[in-house]
Symmetry: C2
Subunit: 473 residues, 2 copies
């Protein structure tokens, strides 16, 4: 089938479901979740072959994926995504106010580009697909070339489960080749794009979406350097604990997480560096997703190693596809190096920036820009006043983590996964958690409408008006 | 002062106010509103000279402008724009959930580009400025070249009122020349742009914002064709009333409104066209904003007159800068002409599309795309089933108006002024009404934070937690 035909079919399917009552959308999401849970034992081995990720992680990831689908079902039941807002007519105002009733409506066909590092949770049935379907959209999904077989399997399961739940054919479909992905972003009937992946690839598609005759919303989650800051007190009181936590976080998923803390900025790093040199050298072997990722990791690592003043603390030697490598650099050299030192290395490589005092730590903080997360490690009654640091981190981060590590993302209502560019191409929205549904709905106001042509949720006396904003209250 | 210095000063001022308590922002907005109300009698005569708009309209517009500032103050007091959402830590979950607290934060320096047609309400102190200040942002405002003198006066009044309310210098400033406007969109410290104006100019700046190394949110309200559909029953039962309403709407503000209904699509237009030919010929003289607008109106009108099958119904002859011109074309010819017939003419020109039946009316409806508003005129118990028409209008419109006219915009909570491109470059947000504040805030999640470093509104026991979403409820 051509891409054009596929998008047209998706558009036609969307027209059929766009006014579905919420119970049918909930049933659709739950049908898909149930089918994926049932197929777990067939899916995981294929994903293991394609991604080198271990069984326990992938099994857990299927559960996370179906959990995301079910959280989206709860968000649909919750109805706040409809944003129902009513101002009744009021002839006593100057000028007189007409009857105005607002609710959101679904955008249309959403093109989804999944990531390489989470074959399930950010894959074909991942968070973006769940959010788009929950919003009442159709999806055309570009398969990540890193795991085509398991993606096809998930796609078939989803499509069958959707048909079983009464969805029209064409509501969900996959494309595989690069050119079809590009054509999907350009297609006149595509209404929005959701992308998770590299800054380079995401930016290229963002540019295509904005060059369209009618530009469309592009939700790209492109990554982050995720700097974590350690006060002098914490560096001295909790050197071992901090070094262990950092190493655990940068090797989780073999360092292939968009929330990996690539930079640990320490006010006095010598104790932590000593701990790291022991710990890193005996770190377990790392298997990366595929040979392309190994190549690009090693290249980026070697480039960061060339930054003047950069020094290797330790590397592990236990086989694997590549080494775990932790470098260190003084705050002064880091600041002198500029952009070349602030580079995302996808894989198990990280940098400790060794600052001479808290003022230099703040200067290093100010050299970072848009990032998904940032973090602070401090003691219970830390002598450093962290207000200035927090103030800067608020300006650049989507999430700030205190005395924990940024990897491992809770999928909840209060999660924000986004942030100023390049964390996200639209910093107002999260790509993870219940609020991710909001990306695929836009408001429409109905002025002076007769009851019979209003959506049931906006009609006088509808249950949905309870708790809605009425006359500004 | 150079533009660079100006944006840096605005950024520094933003850093000072970004954590202001809401009462101080409310006082700032009310101080500006009060100062503008007091200066009404000095402002209106200058605006009259610069825009040719009549005294009554401009006096009312100052009131609308200060009403917008006060509505924004109410939105700040309301606090829902903070979007406070909390998930408390829960160790019993798999995986255990950390404490997550989300609130929105202001974006930074907002560049505001005001419109020519509303020197006050969409001008220097207009809706975008009010929304950005309410959100806790600084503003650098590009003055519209159509009314520089009154813009400077409004700017001086605003800046003085802001200082009086305790705002730091630099929080509000103006730029005038074209190159400074461009540099404002490109400046690294500019965090978002709000633009109201032509599709051509807005698209050019949208492209600049997206070409930045770090693209920023661009909220452009670029216009619309605002098609209004009339059923056969309404065309016959209410021909005179419909013709009068239509003429009133297309000549309000001399047709220089972005919500002007440029196209009236009628199932059987002969009675309405007969009424229009009488009414239009005696329509009052029109004074346009300035000679450039006259030139561009006349050029666009003459081009639409050249569309094959287009026929002039009537033109007024009462002096003025240009004529009121209403054309008509058959549905068949309109569809055959394609894009060349669907052209926005800024000024008192409009087109009646005369359809032979309701099926053709639907086909014409489907030829329209993104628009701020659309409308339907029908009778009480209209025999036409309007579901299909409404379904299409929902897909292309930000607001749908029933048996009223789209001009005259209520500034309320339930208003949506936006829509698919080119109505808006971001169809998820309104540029008018209380929700316009949402464009200038983005979420941040605080994970595992100690109470002492949380914003007061997120601390345990804060009044703002009442009514907030806690643990997904």
């Amino acid at each position: 089938m051509t891409l054009d035909r596929q998008v047209r079919d998706a558009h036609a399917a969307w027209l059929q479901i766009r006014n579905w009552e919420s119970a049918k959308i909930v049933a659709l999401l739950e049908s898909i979740a149930e089918a994926l849970d049932s197929a777990k034992s067939e899916l995981v081995p294929v994903a293991m072959e394609e991604t080198n990720l271990p069984e326990a992680r992938l099994t857990g990831e299927v559960g996370r994926t179906t959990g995301q689908l079910r959280l989206m079902a709860r968000a649909v039941e919750d109805r706040t995504y409809l944003d129902i807002t009513i101002d009744y007519a009021d002839a006593s105002l100057t000028p007189p106010r007409p009857d105005l009733r607002l609710k959101t409506t679904s955008l249309g066909v959403v093109g989804v580009f999944g990531a390489s590092n989470f074959p399930f949770a950010f894959g074909v049935a991942g968070g973006d697909t769940a959010a788009a379907l929950a919003a009442g959209c159709a999806v055309v999904i570009k398969v990540n070339p890193g795991h085509p077989r398991v993606s096809r399997m998930v796609g078939e399961i989803m499509i069958a489960a959707a048909l079983k739940a009464g969805a029209p054919a064409g509501l969900i479909s996959l494309v595989e080749d690069f050119d079809s992905g590009l054509a999907l972003v350009e297609h006149p009937l595509t209404a929005a794009i959701a992308f998770t992946g590299s800054t380079h690839g995401g930016r290229a598609l963002f540019d295509v979406a904005n060059r369209r005759e009618n530009p469309i919303p592009f939700y790209g989650e492109l990554g982050g350097l995720n700097p974590v800051f350690v006060t002098r007190a914490a560096a001295s009181d909790k050197a071992k604990e901090t070094a262990e936590g950092f190493l655990g976080s940068i090797t989780m998923g073999a360092g292939q997480f968009c929330t990996k803390p690539g930079f640990l900025i320490v006010d006095g790093a010598s104790a932590i560096n000593t701990e790291l040199s022991t710990l890193v050298s005996v770190a377990p072997a790392q298997k990366l997703l595929n040979s392309n990722i190994v190549k690009s990791h090693d290249k980026n690592r070697d480039e960061i190693a060339q930054v003047p003043g950069m020094r290797l603390i330790a590397q592990n030697s236990d086989g694997g596809d590549t080494n775990v490598s932790v470098y260190t650099i003084s705050g002064k050299d880091f600041l002198a190096a500029g952009e070349s030192a602030r580079r995302e290395v996808f894989g198990p490589t990280a940098v400790v920036v060794d600052c001479s005092d808290s003022a230099e730590l703040l200067k290093v903080a100010e050299s970072f820009s848009g990032t998904l997360t940032s973090g602070i490690h401090a003691t219970e009654s830390d002598p450093m006043d962290l207000s200035l640091l927090i103030s800067h981190l608020e300006r650049i981060s989507g999430r700030i983590v205190w005395n924990q590590w940024p990897t491992g993302l809770a999928v909840t209502w209060a999660m924000h996964h986004g942030g100023p560019y390049p964390a996200s191409t639209n910093p107002l929205f999260t790509s993870v958690g219940a609020k991710a549904i909001l990306r695929f709905r836009r408001p429409v106001t109905y002025q002076n409408f007769p009851q019979r042509y209003l959506s049931p949720v906006l009609q006088d006396g509808s249950a949905e008006l309870n708790g809605a904003r009425i006359n500004g209250k």
